[in-house]
Symmetry: C2
Subunit: 109 residues, 2 copies
């Protein structure tokens, strides 16, 4: 069983080139930490000034797995590079969040 | 091998309830036609006034598979219900398209 997630955030136009460059070479430690937090089949897409991240969560405690990722020092260093490229959407910004979750309406296997 | 796709389109606020209702019971013929066109793991998400569709294409001729879907009479009937709920984004509308494709930046298996 897996939970499907789609997250959305703004991409600052002036940081688009840098964000794309960073994602040519995502640090192996960051990818390993995502996998350790039971995130699979993760793809980040760009459309205009939006970033869209799709992934499947296969663990049993999402909050704990996300907290373990956020506590990882190398992931924190990575986010110091990527966060300044991103612009949370208004509702997420008001809640102090970065990526905002979309709601699944329908799925076809 | 599969190609990952993320597509985006606007959702008219006044049609949101109807669009969600339609997707509680997508017609089996529409789902079968998607599968016959080699579309797998297809999820439609909603965020605000946006719809976001993620799917994996496992065929070898995407254009032909999409054309076969568009030529299917039952799929055409379905789109007569869903199209009026949707508002193509400006670039797609200018190109005479409905859903617009995002660009993959990075993937983690």
């Amino acid at each position: 069983m897996s939970e499907r997630h789609l997250q959305i955030i703004g991409l600052k136009p002036e940081a688009k080139e840098e964000y794309i460059r960073l994602h040519h070479i995502v640090w192996p430690e960051v990818e390993a930490r995502l996998s350790a937090s039971n995130i699979e089949n993760y793809t980040i897409f760009n459309h205009g000034d939006l970033l869209l991240g799709y992934f499947e969560y296969t663990g049993i405690d999402y909050a704990a797995d996300m907290a373990a990722m956020a506590a990882d020092p190398i992931t924190q260093q990575w986010w110091k590079l990527t966060d300044p490229c991103q612009q949370p959407l208004p509702a997420a910004a008001a809640a102090g969040k970065m990526w905002d979750d979309a709601v699944e309406l329908w799925h076809l296997a």
